[in-house]
Symmetry: C2
Subunit: 795 residues, 2 copies
C-alpha cells in the first residue's frame, strides 16, 4: 500500500523548482523575522541589538515544514484551479501561516498597515507575539484560519467538519506529531468512515513528523516505518511518505506525491459521483518527515538545534546580549537571500508573486475560512406545528426530546445540504429517533443484512454518530465555521469530555465577534444536554454531573446562553430560537424521559421570549405581594417545585404563593454582567426583596448563588439543587437525597415564611413521613409510586 | 504478524472444556438472573410475573463475552499460579464481573447476606440495578474492580498504571469496541512504548469486538480483518484473533491463544530481566470477536437480538406483562441448565468450584485491586532542607516549581519503586527539571545519538511524558488505585481536558471512602496546575482558563482540596502535606515563572497549616480593627495585592490595612459545608463584618463569591479575578485588563473605605495614570518595566 510517489521524470521543471524554493525561503525568512526583529526587517543594514525584540517569543520548529506544504499546495491550486483550504494542527507554528497570508496579499488587504513595503514588513514582524499585537497561534485574527491550534488534538476533526457537504472542497490539514499523541486526534483518523465521496469534499491529512515536541521525541517519529505504515493503513488510509531534508529532492518528492494524492481524490470522487456506487475509499494521506526547524541553525553553543527539540521555539536565544548569537542570527536570516526575494521597496519580487493563487483561491482568502460569508439561514418550519396540544397544564405526559425529534426531522427535510445532527451513539437513546423519518445515520464502513431492520444507516445519512464526543464536537465546529448549521445532543455527565473544546470554541467566537470585524457571524453551536442527572436510575453516580453549566458561566457573556426549557413546547421554542441565532454557544438542558407538560405553544413562545416569568396558573398570590416565591429552572426541578407548591396550597390554603419559572438562566444576572440580565426593577418585582424564595435548580445550587449574589433579595434566596448525592435511585428517591423533591421544598418553605413555622408543625411532620415512606416504597418495589405526579392547580 | 494460535492437539481436554463451559453457563445464568429476577432465583418453580423485577435494567450485551474471558483467565491462574487482575472496559457489563465475584466466593465474604444459597442468590439478583442496591457498572462496591467503566475510554490507561512497578502482575483489560472509538482509548494503545519489561508488569488487552454499541455497529467491527490487524500492528502490538460463536471451538481457540500470550509475556520479561537488554517488545494482545449477547435469545418478536445492537441492554422486554416473553425468558435461562450448575441449596456444584483460583489469586480478591492494602507511605525528606533562604519578604526572586523540582528529586531517590511524576511533555517547561538529577523520562521507543545531550530519556526513567493528558491521568489513577504514589503537573488551561476524568475519580473516591469500609485508603491524586492564566505572554487567550477549580468545587467536600501557595516555601509545605495524604484529589495552583518570595520555611509551615492568615509584616492595622482588608489567593494575585497595599500605604500612611492570604481555599467555606471550613467566629475575626475586603483571586472571581456567600461580610467582599479578558499581554498588562493589578486594587480600596474616597481623588488619578503608562510602556517595549516589583514593607 505504501507509496513514495516518484516519477521517472521529475515533476518540477528546474526553473519552477527554483522559484518555489525561493518562495519557500521567503516564508522562512518572514517566520524568522517575526520571532526576532522589531527594526531593520530586510537586513538592509547589519543587525544590531536594538533591532531585536526585547522578548523573543514564538515557535520556529514547525514553520519551515508547514510553509513547505503551503507552497506546494499553491502550485496545485494554480495549476488545477482547486478549491482548497489549509488547517494548521501545530497552530503555534503561526509564523508559517502568517508568512503565507502576507505573501499572498491577504494580510495587507485586511490589515492595511501591514503593507507590502519595508515599513509594512516591520510592523508585520513587530506585532507578532508582541503586546497589543497578535498571538503566536493561528488565532481568529489570522486570515484563512478556522483552527487556532492553541490546544492540540482537534485539527483533523475540524477538517472533516469543513469537508462535509462541500463537495468541491479539499481540506488540507497538517497534523503535528505532538498533536498526534492526543486522544482526540488518535481517534479522529477514523473519520474517514463518515466521509461520503459523492456528497462531501475531501480531507488530505499531512502528518508532519518533525520528530519532537517541546522537549521530547514524538512517538510516531520513533517507531519503525513498517509500524507507521501499518498504523495508517489500519486506520483506513493510503499513506504516502515524503521523507528527507535536502530541499531539491524534497520539492520533487512532495510535488509528485501531491499530484498523486489529488489525482486519487478526484478519481474516487468522480467514480462515486458518476456511478452512485462505491466501496469505502482508502483516501490518500501524506507522512511528511522533515527536520524540526528545517533550514534553521544546525547547532548553537555546541548543542544540536535543527532536527532536535531545541528547535521548537526560539532556536538562538540571548541574541540581544550575545554578539556571537546576533551574528549567528544574521547569518541564518541572510542565508535565505532576502535581497533576491524582496525588491528594494520590500515587495516580493514579481516572479515569485505569480506563485500565489489569486483572489478567493488563495488559501488565506478562501471564503470557506470565513464561513459566515457563505452561511445561509436555515429554512425552519413553524415549530408550533409540532407543538403538543392539551387542555390544561399537567394533564399530559410526553418526552421533550421526542417532540423535538419530529421538529428536527422537518428541519432536515427543508435543509438537505446544510444541517446535521451529532450524537455519540445516543440519538435513539436520547429519544430523537423521529429524525430517522427524514434521514439516517452516516455510515461508510461495512454493512450487514440485519442493518436493514432498525440499523438506520445510510451513506447519505445526516445524523453523525461515533462514540467520541471529541470527534463530534470537532466535526460540528468545523461544519459551523465553514458556514453551516448543526445540533449536538449528548449525555449531560459526559459533556464534560468536551469542556476544553467548548472553552476554546467560546474563546474563538468571542474574539471573532468582538474584535474581528471582517469575520462574518457563523451559526451558533447548539448543545442539547439530555439524559440528565435526575434520571440515572441504573447508571447511577457516574452519570450524575450537571456541572457543565458552571464551565459555560465562566465564559464571556457575549457568546454564552443557557436555556432550561421546562417542557416540550418550551424546548421547541428555544430550539427554534437557537437555530436562528449566530455566534453563540447555546446550551439547552432538557431531559429525554416523559414528563408532565405545562405550556401551550403560545404560552411557551411568550414565556421563552421573556426567559423568566410568573406562572399565574400555579400561583395563589393573585397579583398581591406573595408570602413565598417558589422558583425553578429545569424540567424535573420545575415538576418538583410545582408539586411542592401544590402541597403547600393543600396544607395552607391561605398562603400566597408565587410560582416563577426560569428558562433563560442569564436573566438572573444583573444587566451589566450579561446582555440577558434582568434590570434590577424587574428582578425585584418578580422576587420582592423581603420575600423568601425557594429556588429549585437543575444543577449545582452554588451556580444560582453565583449568578444572583448581587441581587437585592439574595439573603432570602434558598437554592436546592444537586448536592453530589446519588446512586441507582428511583427518580423521587434521588430527588429526596438531594433535597430537590417536593417534600423538602415544602418543608423549607414552612421554615422560611415568617409565621408559617409556628403553625406548620403538623404539615412538616406529614411531609417528613412522606419522605420516609417513598424511600421505603422504592426500596421495596424498585420503582416510585405511580400516583406521585397527580395534583391539581389552584382554582 | 497475525496469529490465531491453534495447536494440532486441542488445548483443553474434553472434560476440562465441559467443566469450563459449565462454569461459563453459570456466569451467564447469574447475569440474566441479575437483570430479571427478584424471586425464584434458581427457577425451582415455573417463572411467574411476580418473580420479575418491576423495572428491567442492566446490560446483557457484553456479559457472556466478558465471563468467557474471565473463566479462561481462571484456568491460567490456577495452572500457572499467576498474579492477575481484570479490568472491565465495558464496565456496564457488570453482571459478568459480579457473577464471577459471586462464584469465587469473594462477594459473600464481603457481603455475607449474599450467601451461597438460594436466599443469598435471591438477594444478589435483587440488589442489582435496584434502588438501595448496587449499580450496573463495576462500581467501587465491586470486589476486584479498580475501574468502574461508567464513562468510557480509560480502561487501558488504568491497566498500564496498574502494571507499572508491579513486575509480577499481569493486568488483563477487556476493551469494548464501543469504548475503542473514544479518543482517550485510541491513543492509549501507544502506552506500550512506556512499559519496561524488566521493571514493570504486563498488560494483556483483549479487544472485545462484539460488534455493536447501544444502537450502532462499531467501527472496528466493520473494517476488514486486514485493516484491523494492520491497526494493532501499527500500534506496536502482536494481535491474536479469537473469532466465532460456537462455544466448543471458541473455548479451544481462547485457551490456546491465552497460553501463547502468557508464554510470550513471560519470555519477553525473562529475556529482559536476565539480560538487562531488550528491544521494545511487541506485546501480545487478543481480538475476541464474539456475538453481542452471546448465548442469549436469538430473536424476539421477529427482530434479531443476539449478535445485534438489540442485545445491548435488556434483550427481552415487557416480560412481566407479556406471557410469551415470560416463556421466552424462562426457556433462555433454563438453557443454561441451572439444575446442573447449582445444588439444591443453591451452591455452585463442587466440581465447578474447583475451577476458581483460591484466596488472593482470585481476580475478585487480588489485593492489587484494593491498593490501599498494599500502599506504604512515602519516605519523604524534610522539605525544609529544600526551602529557599532569605532575610526579608520580597527580596528574592525564584520559581516555585523549580524549587519543588529539587525536592521531588529527593522523593524519587528515597522511593525508587513507588513514585512517579506525570506531565504532558511539560516537565521541563514547567521548570521541574530538577527531578532529572534523580531519574529520567521513561522511553521505550527508539533512541538517537543526540538524545544523550538533553534528551533525559531512559528505559528505567520514572517521569512519564506523553502528549496526552488523558493517558497520563489514566496511568496515574491506575498507579494510585493499586497502592502507589504520584504527582501530575500540567498546564492550567488544559487540565480541562481531564475534567471528566477528575469527576469520575472523585466520585470513585467518595464512594470508596464514605460507604465502602473494606476499601483501604489510597494515596491522594496530586494535581499541580502551573503555566497559569497570568503568564501566557505569547500563548495568549487560549491558554487562559483558571476554571478547573470551579469543577473541583462541585465535587464532594470529602475528597476535594484546593491549595494556592503564594510562594516556593509554601508550595513545598503544601506538596509535602499532599504527598502524605490519602483519598483526596489535591489541586495545587502555582506558577512556574520566577516570583518574589515571602515566607521562610517556618513561616510557610505555620501559614499553610492554618491555611489562611494575616501577614503582619504587610499589614498596618497592628492588631486594631482595620479600615480595609486586602486579601489574596494565588501567587500572582498575592504579589499584586501586596503591591496594592504598598501603594495604599504610600498614599495614605495612616490607613489601617490588614493583609490576609489564603492558601487553603476551602477555609473560606462555612464549616458545615467543608471539613476545612473556618468557623464563623474565626472568619469574622479575620474579615470583620463591616470592613471592606478587596480580595484578589487567581481564578474566576465568582468562585470566591460562591464559597463565601453565606459569610457575614459577604456584602463587603469585592473580588477581583480573571474576567475572560486576555491576549498576548505582558504580565502587568494582562493583570490590568482583568483588574487584578495593584492599581485597580488600590483604586477599588479607595472607593470602598468610608471616607477615603473623599480625600483620595488625587491618588486615584495618579493610579489611573499608572495604568495607562504601563500599558503604553508594554506596547512600546514589549515588556513590563523592570522596576515594578520593588516596594517596601511597613516599618
Amino acid at each position: 500500500m505504501s507509496k513514495t510517489a516518484t516519477n521517472a521524470e521529475p515533476t518540477l521543471k528546474p526553473q519552477e523548482l527554483q522559484r518555489m524554493d525561493a518562495y519557500w525561503r521567503a516564508c522562512n525568512y518572514l517566520a524568522a523575522g517575526m520571532i526576532y526583529l522589531r527594526e531593520n526587517p530586510l537586513l538592509k543594514e547589519p543587525l544590531r541589538p536594538e533591532h531585536i525584540k526585547n522578548r523573543l517569543l514564538g515557535h520556529w520548529g514547525s514553520d519551515p515544514g508547514q510553509s513547505f506544504v503551503w507552497v506546494h499546495l499553491n502550485r496545485l491550486i494554480r495549476e488545477q484551479d482547486l478549491n482548497m483550504i489549509y488547517i494548521s494542527g501545530p497552530g503555534h507554528g503561526a509564523p508559517a501561516t502568517l508568512a503565507n497570508c502576507y505573501l499572498e496579499g491577504t494580510y495587507s488587504e485586511i490589515y492595511p498597515d501591514k503593507s507590502h513595503d519595508v515599513e509594512g514588513m516591520r510592523k508585520f514582524f513587530r506585532q507578532f507575539s508582541f503586546p497589543g499585537g497578535i498571538g503566536s497561534h493561528c488565532t481568529p485574527e489570522t486570515p484563512g484560519s478556522i483552527h487556532e491550534g492553541g490546544e492540540l488534538g482537534y485539527s483533523l476533526s475540524h477538517a472533516f467538519g469543513a469537508a462535509f457537504d462541500h463537495p468541491d472542497l479539499i481540506v488540507n490539514v497538517v497534523v503535528g506529531d505532538g498533536e498526534a499523541e492526543t486522544g482526540p486526534m488518535a481517534t479522529s483518523w477514523h473519520a474517514n468512515k463518515f466521509l461520503n465521496p459523492a456528497r462531501d469534499g475531501a480531507v488530505l491529512p499531512i502528518l508532519h513528523l518533525n520528530g519532537y515536541k517541546i522537549a521530547n521525541p514524538t512517538i510516531l517519529a520513533r517507531i519503525s516505518h513498517e509500524e507507521l505504515e501499518a498504523l495508517f493503513t489500519g486506520y483506513g488510509w493510503k499513506p504516502y511518505f515524503v521523507e528527507g531534508s535536502e530541499p531539491e529532492q524534497m520539492h520533487q518528492k512532495m510535488a509528485a506525491t501531491l499530484d498523486s494524492c489529488v489525482r486519487e481524490i478526484k478519481e474516487i470522487q468522480e467514480q462515486a459521483r458518476e456511478s452512485g456506487k462505491w466501496e469505502r475509499p482508502r483516501w490518500p494521506m501524506i507522512v511528511l518527515r522533515s527536520p524540526k526547524g528545517w533550514t534553521g541553525p544546525k547547532e548553537v553553543d555546541g548543542h544540536k538545534v535543527e532536527d532536535f527539540w531545541r528547535a521548537h521555539q526560539v532556536p538562538i536565544l540571548g541574541v540581544k546580549e550575545n554578539p556571537e548569537h546576533l551574528k549567528m542570527l544574521e547569518a541564518w536570516m541572510r542565508s535565505y537571500e532576502p535581497e533576491k526575494l524582496f525588491d528594494e521597496s520590500g515587495r516580493l519580487v514579481a516572479e515569485l508573486q505569480e506563485l500565489a493563487p489569486k483572489g478567493d483561491r488563495r488559501m488565506s482568502a478562501n471564503p470557506h475560512t470565513n464561513g459566515g460569508k457563505l452561511r445561509k439561514p436555515l429554512d425552519l418550519p413553524a415549530f408550533c406545528d409540532f407543538a403538543l396540544k392539551f387542555q390544561r397544564p399537567g394533564e399530559m405526559y410526553a418526552s421533550s426530546t421526542e417532540t423535538l425529534g419530529t421538529y428536527l426531522a422537518e428541519v432536515f427535510r427543508r435543509n438537505p445540504e446544510s444541517f446535521r445532527l451529532f450524537g455519540p451513539d445516543e440519538t435513539a437513546s436520547n429519544k430523537l429517533s423521529g429524525v430517522y423519518e427524514a434521514t439516517k445515520k452516516t455510515w461508510e464502513a461495512g454493512y450487514k443484512p440485519e442493518d436493514a431492520d432498525g440499523g438506520e444507516l445510510a451513506a447519505d445519512g445526516r445524523v453523525m454518530e461515533m462514540l467520541s464526543e471529541h470527534t463530534l464536537e470537532g466535526w460540528l465546529e468545523g461544519y459551523l465555521l465553514t458556514g453551516r448549521h448543526g445540533f449536538f445532543a449528548t449525555y449531560e455527565a459526559f459533556v464534560h469530555v468536551i469542556d476544553s473544546m467548548f472553552n476554546q470554541h467560546a474563546k474563538w467566537l468571542e474574539k471573532s465577534k468582538k474584535e474581528i470585524r471582517w469575520r462574518a457571524p457563523i451559526s451558533s453551536l447548539n448543545l442539547l444536554i439530555t439524559s440528565v442527572v435526575w434520571r440515572q436510575d441504573h447508571n447511577g453516580f457516574t452519570h450524575q454531573d450537571p456541572g457543565f453549566l458552571d464551565i459555560v458561566a465562566n465564559k464571556s457573556a457575549e457568546v454564552t446562553r443557557i436555556y432550561l426549557p421546562p417542557d416540550a413546547n418550551c424546548l421547541l421554542s428555544v430550539a427554534d430560537h437557537c437555530l436562528k441565532s449566530t455566534d453563540y454557544v447555546n446550551v439547552i438542558v432538557a431531559d429525554k424521559q416523559p414528563h408532565l407538560q405545562f405550556l401551550s405553544a403560545d404560552e411557551a413562545i411568550k414565556h421563552c421570549t421573556k426567559g423568566i416569568g410568573i406562572w399565574e396558573w400555579a400561583s395563589t398570590d393573585k397579583g398581591c405581594e406573595p408570602d413565598v416565591v417558589i422558583a425553578s429552572a429545569g424540567d424535573i426541578a420545575t415538576m418538583e417545585a410545582l408539586a411542592a407548591a401544590a402541597l403547600l396550597r393543600e396544607h395552607f390554603p391561605k398562603l400566597k404563593i408565587r410560582f416563577v419559572n426560569v428558562v433563560d438562566l442569564f436573566r438572573l444576572v444583573p444587566e451589566d454582567e450579561h446582555p440577558h440580565g434582568l434590570p434590577e426593577r424587574d428582578y425585584d418585582s418578580l422576587f420582592p426583596p423581603d420575600t423568601p424564595v425557594i429556588f429549585n435548580f437543575h444543577g449545582y445550587p452554588q451556580l444560582i448563588h453565583r449568578l444572583t449574589y448581587q441581587r437585592n433579595n439574595h439573603h432570602n434566596l434558598h437554592v436546592h439543587g444537586y448536592r453530589e448525592r446519588g446512586n441507582i435511585n428511583t427518580p423521587l428517591e434521588l430527588a429526596i437525597m438531594n433535597k430537590v423533591d417536593r417534600f423538602h421544598l415544602a418543608m423549607n418553605a414552612i421554615d422560611r415564611v415568617p409565621g408559617l413555622r409556628a403553625i406548620g408543625g403538623h404539615a412538616k411532620n406529614w411531609l417528613f413521613d412522606q419522605v420516609t415512606e417513598h424511600v421505603m416504597y422504592a426500596h421495596e418495589h424498585g420503582i416510585d409510586p405511580e400516583a406521585i405526579n397527580e395534583w391539581t392547580w389552584p382554582e
